[in-house]
């Protein structure tokens, strides 16, 4: 919000301005008398006019400076936060507490701090100047009283300001719940359920309760802070009244001119206005200090070392990309999600295996067995809690996630970017974003051979004119992975929304595109898994079986049991 804050020069012009006003008022008072000096009145007016014109132009130029500060400040902060989020380890980003810290860090506004700080400085100096003038005119007890009260107020405001901040953080849970319920009640998808089961009265009642609760907490907090501010503010205006009383009473002894009174009134009024505003600025600066703390807390969060370094590099020069398939090795890999102490399930426990370069691996297991977690560890997105994950390359063994080796994945929750079709696919290899041939080829590999739009059309309902179907989006996501020929490829069950025919085609496309590469297919359709070279069977976070389809069928273990279960539907 733009505030017409005082500039230093304007402030310095204040005494001169007051002097001229005094002159004008004195001359007005003497108007009817023989000693009146009309010329000097006009001169004084002219002088005043000149001074104020100058102030107007100076004020406008300071506004321009403010805009520039605002521009730089906002852009800088936003960029810092976005880059920080990108460089955090994935695990941190998934944690709700880190997400909360990020939300709070966004409230920080460095430009506002700068401007408020400047403004505070100038206003305080003006307050001191006015106090000096009042003392010079002989009413020093007044000035002292006003100043003391002002200091007391500023301390109080700071305390109230930060307490209000903290309350707002606490009401977050009720608000979140109310918001979640409201979204459910108005969304299309749950509407069928809500009608059939008559859930609306329960959900609406709950929403009302949480909403009222959050509202009441908020209102109580505001009321409390207002009550606390009431007494200081009242005493402040009363002091101004007392000040004026003293001035009046002293006129019985000192005979001053009209100009003196007017200037004195002006000073007292200005000071009475300046001190509360200084106090408020101190309050808001203290709030901003809290925001600054939050911002720093977020920025100082530890980075993810390997991938971050790569992204730093990419802005400068293009690093040398090693090619050739990689092998995988894990040793006693263990990983746990940070959940509450009561849910002590290990996501992965003591997994060890080794795969040669160029193998097609299928990872199978029931839901919750840890397949997706294993894949993320193999891709280097998570760091293990214990044990190791290595990539076996021609140049030697490196830690999983090393930036020189390319990876590609189609996840279950693949993203539908509301951007151009070109961008959606070229994410797989951003260097080729303008290479139409490469993009078209990748789309063809994913099974999308004709489409009725150009690559530069924006797809998706947010900014585009139309949306793709679920199946088409899945093919676009797969095309992303097929952009580069030589990388470690992962396909993590992205086909749950497809009908069986489309699913088969997707698997076929994947295996074709993974020719010569190391590839992982995560699925529970064991009919597809048997096409792989090796199958890893996970159960409850442990690797229970490993081998080819034929081997596992003769082993009569978990795999064979699952396979027979699925085959039973058809055979």
């Amino acid at each position: 919000m733009q505030k017409a804050s005082l500039d230093t020069v304007t402030m310095l012009m204040l005494p001169l301005r007051l002097y001229l006003i005094k002159l004008v008022m004195d001359r007005i008072q003497q108007w009817g008398q023989p000693t009146s000096d009309r010329e000097s009145l006009f001169l004084a007016c002219a002088g005043l006019a000149l001074l104020m014109t100058a102030a107007a132009f100076i004020g406008s130029s300071s506004l321009l400076k403010h805009t520039r500060i605002y521009e730089i400040g906002t852009l800088l902060k936003e960029r810092l936060i976005v880059e920080k989020t990108a460089s955090l380890p994935l695990r941190a980003v998934e944690t709700p507490s880190v997400q909360d810290v990020r939300r709070r860090a966004l409230l920080y506004a460095p430009d506002a701090v700068c401007l408020e700080g400047m403004s505070l400085l100038i206003q305080s100096m003006q307050a001191i100047l006015l106090t000096g003038l009042i003392c010079w005119m002989g009413y020093w007890p007044l000035a002292v009283g006003l100043l003391l009260l002002g200091c007391g107020q500023s301390w109080l405001y700071a305390a109230i300001g930060s307490r209000l901040e903290r309350t707002q953080t606490k009401q977050a849970t009720s608000l979140r719940l109310a918001d979640h319920l409201h979204q459910l009640l108005i969304a299309e998808v749950p509407a069928k359920e809500i009608r059939i089961f008559g859930l609306h009265s329960l959900l609406q009642q709950r929403w009302l309760d949480y909403s009222r609760d959050a509202g009441k907490q908020n209102e109580q907090a505001v009321a409390r802070s207002e009550r606390q501010k009431l007494l200081p503010e009242l005493s402040f205006s009363l002091i101004s009244g007392i000040a004026i009383l003293l001035i009046i009473l002293s006129s019985s002894t000192n005979i001053s001119t009209a100009g003196d009174y007017v200037v004195l009134f002006q000073c007292v009024t200005l000071l009475a206005g300046a001190i509360p505003s200084v106090v408020k600025q101190v309050g808001s600066l203290s709030q901003m200090a809290v925001h600054c703390e939050n911002f720093k807390a977020y920025i100082q969060h530890p980075d993810d070392r390997t991938t971050y370094n790569h992204n730093q590099q990419q802005r400068g020069n293009i690093p040398e990309q090693a090619s050739g398939p990689i092998g995988l090795r894990t040793e006693q890999l263990t990983f746990r999600y940070n959940v509450s102490p009561t849910d002590r399930l290990a996501a992965l426990d003591d997994i060890s295996f080794e795969m040669e370069r160029g193998t097609k691996i299928a990872i199978v297991g029931e839901n919750g067995s840890g397949k997706s977690t294993l894949v993320k560890l193999l891709l280097g997105l998570y760091r293990p809690d214990a044990g190791e994950v290595h990539w076996l390359t021609k140049e030697g063994n490196v830690q999983a996630g090393h930036p020189t080796y390319r990876t590609a994945a189609v996840f279950q929750d693949f993203n539908r970017y509301q951007m151009r079709l070109r961008d959606n696919v070229a994410i797989g290899d951003v260097m080729k974003v303008t290479d139409d041939a490469a993009i078209t080829e990748a789309l063809a590999k994913a099974g999308l051979r004709e489409w009725h739009t150009s690559l530069d059309d924006t797809i998706g309902t947010a900014f585009g004119r139309f949306d793709l179907s679920g199946g088409q989006w899945q093919k676009v996501a797969a095309a992303r992975a097929y952009m580069r020929g030589d990388c470690f490829l992962v396909f993590d069950e992205p086909t749950s929304a497809l009908d069986p025919q489309a699913e088969r085609e997707a698997f076929a496309d994947f295996l074709r595109a993974a020719e010569g590469q190391t590839a992982i297919l995560v699925t529970h359709r064991l009919g597809a898994a048997k096409l792989a070279d090796t199958i890893l069977v996970l159960k409850d976070g442990r690797l229970v079986e490993q081998g080819t389809h034929a081997q596992l069928m003769t082993a009569h273990g978990e795999y064979e049991r699952l396979y027979r279960l699925q085959a039973a539907w058809y055979v």
């Binding site: 007016c45 104020m52 207002e226 019985s252 005979i255 699925q566 055979v571």
Partner: protein, 606 residues
């Protein structure tokens, strides 16, 4: 010009809605800024009197001065105290008003979403209007209320200042009014231009916001890290943000340049007023006090058009959203007057009599010419490609949609005349995307239970949960009081498969005569699938069960299979009959079965 009037009208309509529910609060909320603005009049009058008293009684005794000055002193004290109180009250009423208005309007939107016919809710047009109304009921509403209160206060403040100026000379008041009006109009127009270049209103800005939000989502970050495309996305975002900021700040700079001219016009006004006052000095109709406060007031008046331009421009911009909200909420909800017959018997037959269905506003039918009778005790499988109309069929059968052609008869009664609430209690369903409700497990699972005793029968609940494979959840540390979803700090987020099993448990706990299952196992893994299939089979004994599935393995064991293609039922029979027919169903089945053929290990078979 008409735009301004239209927007003002929308805001007034919105306020009328709020007044109806909270009359006293709204009046208080409007009165306080009014008084707050006018408090300047007694304040200025008291000051003038005090200055004059001080000058006129200079040199006289204290008692005399006090006697002359005390009324003004009291007025001054009262006015200052009043200003402080009003300021505090304003902040309080702003908060109360924002909370209540927001709650009221959100509840209205919810009522619309709940009572409007489902086919309308699912049509993109209506849903778009709902989303826009929803967006307006959030931040925009609070901002509209605040800006309205500010506008009222500032208008009254300006009016008060004009009154004070008139105490000098009416010409001064007239000039103040004119200059303020001109400066205000210029500033408002400028402000509106700046705001229309705002982030939420321009494509660049909205895209920048979307990208920034995506760059904080774990699923996006995960994908971009894998493809090493993070820097690319960040540059895309930053490029747009910079464009947006530069455009916006250029407007600000223009404003800064114009600010000097606005200041000048007030200066002219100031000295013109001084001239007038000086001119009047000969007639002795004005005092020094008057001169002083007129001078001071005009200086103060300079800030008013600036602040008013902020509130007015905000109101203009948000007037568009106000109209979205007001129009949506004022829209009528159909009363379903024709749905009078209450229903409380078990359902034996559901008959489709030449039924056709088309979404409102669509060009073609989704389903047409459906003729069949479904009976209790039958298990019916609905198969067909995506988009063939399977889900629509289920919604028609459950009475969620009304057919646009033909009739649906429940036990011989036309569904159009039946009271839906009571009908639904006889139905049960599990849909593909079940909502993640922040409730306790017990509440979730019994929300739809028809038997009153069941809500306290924990053993029954435990039994059903056990059957659905959720015993680990049910026996967790909080048992059935475990809160679901991680919206709560101590809540538990379930996996997709667990949510689906929970939804099936809920359907199981309800004793109904008809059950529909729309792809209930899409998120469940194969061994879970068998378990669930058996569960569903147990659930469906004696009932009419319709399920929709891609996996033809399920369809195989149904009593009757309906094959949908292009909006029509093309095949209807048992598995053996359709395999013998050797048409669409047979070829799909063989294709799915081929995955599990014992010796086919080559990719060429796909």
């Amino acid at each position: 010009m008409t735009m301004y009037i239209q927007r003002a009208a929308s805001i007034i309509r919105l306020l009328k809605l709020i007044v109806k529910q909270n009359p006293r609060l709204t009046i208080l909320w409007m009165l306080i800024p009014l008084l707050s603005g006018f408090v300047i009049v007694p304040l200025a009058a008291a000051e003038r009197h005090l200055i004059d008293t001080a000058i006129n009684y200079a040199g006289s005794g204290r008692a005399r001065i006090l006697q002359a000055a005390w009324p003004s002193l009291v007025t001054l004290a009262a006015a200052s105290a009043g200003a402080v109180f009003l300021g505090m009250m304003k902040r309080l009423t702003d908060t109360y008003m924002a909370n209540r208005a927001s709650r009221q309007l959100m509840m209205e939107i919810q009522s619309h979403a709940i009572h409007v016919p489902l086919e309308q809710l699912e049509s993109p047009d209506y849903y778009d209007r709902l989303s826009r109304a929803q967006a307006a009921a959030g931040q925009a509403l609070t901002s509209i209320l605040f800006s309205t209160a500010e506008t009222i206060r500032l208008t009254c403040a300006l009016a008060g200042m004009i009154v004070v100026a008139a105490s000098g000379h009416w010409a001064i008041a007239a000039m103040l009014f004119t200059v303020s009006a001109i400066v205000l109009i210029q500033r408002v127009r400028l402000e509106i231009t700046v705001k229309q270049a705002a982030r939420a209103l321009t494509t660049d800005g909205r895209m920048a916001d979307y990208l920034k939000q995506s760059l904080a989502e774990p699923s996006v970050l995960k994908e971009l890290k894998v493809f090493q495309a993070l820097s690319y996305m960040i540059e895309q975002w930053f490029g747009r943000v910079r464009t947006y900021e530069i455009t916006r700040n250029n407007y600000r700079r223009r404003e800064g340049r114009m600010a000097a001219w606005f200041g000048l016009s007030f200066l002219l006004l100031l000295f013109a007023s001084l001239a007038i006052i000086i001119g009047q000095l000969d007639q002795r109709t004005v005092t020094v006090g008057t001169a002083a406060i007129v001078f001071q007031t005009i200086l103060q008046a300079q800030g008013v058009p600036l602040q008013m331009s902020w509130s007015l421009s905000r109101l203009y911009i948000q007037g568009a959203q106000a109209s979205d909200l007001a129009d949506f909420v004022n829209g009528s909800i159909p009363l379903h007057a024709h749905q009078q017959l209450a229903w409380n018997e078990a359902i034996h037959t559901i008959q489709f009599d030449n039924v056709g269905f088309r979404y409102p506003g669509a060009h073609s039918d989704v389903l047409r010419g459906l003729n069949m009778t479904l009976r209790a005790g039958q298990t019916v499988a609905l198969v067909g490609d995506n988009g063939a109309g399977k889900s629509t069929f289920v919604k028609l059968m459950l009475g969620l949609f009304e057919p646009t052609e033909g009739r649906i008869l429940i036990n011989g009664h036309d569904i159009r005349h039946l009271n839906r609430q009571s009908l639904y209690t006889q139905l049960s369903a599990v849909f593909q995307d079940c909502g993640h409700y922040p409730l306790t497990m017990r509440e979730y699972v019994t929300a739809g239970s028809s038997s009153a005793a069941a809500s306290s029968d924990d053993r029954e609940i435990q039994r059903v949960l056990q059957l659905c494979g959720l015993h680990s959840l049910a026996e967790g540390s909080h048992g059935l009081d475990q809160k679901l979803t991680n919206v709560w700090a101590d809540g538990r987020e379930l996996s997709g498969g667990q949510w689906q099993r929970l939804a099936i448990s809920r359907a199981a706990l309800r004793s109904s005569s008809v059950i529909a299952l729309d792809e209930p196992t899409s998120a469940v893994d194969p061994s879970g699938e068998l378990e669930l299939y058996n569960m569903c089979k147990a659930l469906s004994t004696g009932k009419l069960a319709v399920f929709v599935s891609h996996r033809l393995g399920w369809a195989r064991y149904a009593d009757r299979i309906l094959v949908l293609h292009d909006g029509n039922v093309v095949e209807d029979g048992s598995h053996e009959q359709l395999m013998a027919l050797n048409d669409r169903y047979a070829s799909s089945f063989r294709s799915q079965a081929s995955w599990y053929e014992p010796e086919q290990l080559n990719t060429a078979a796909l």
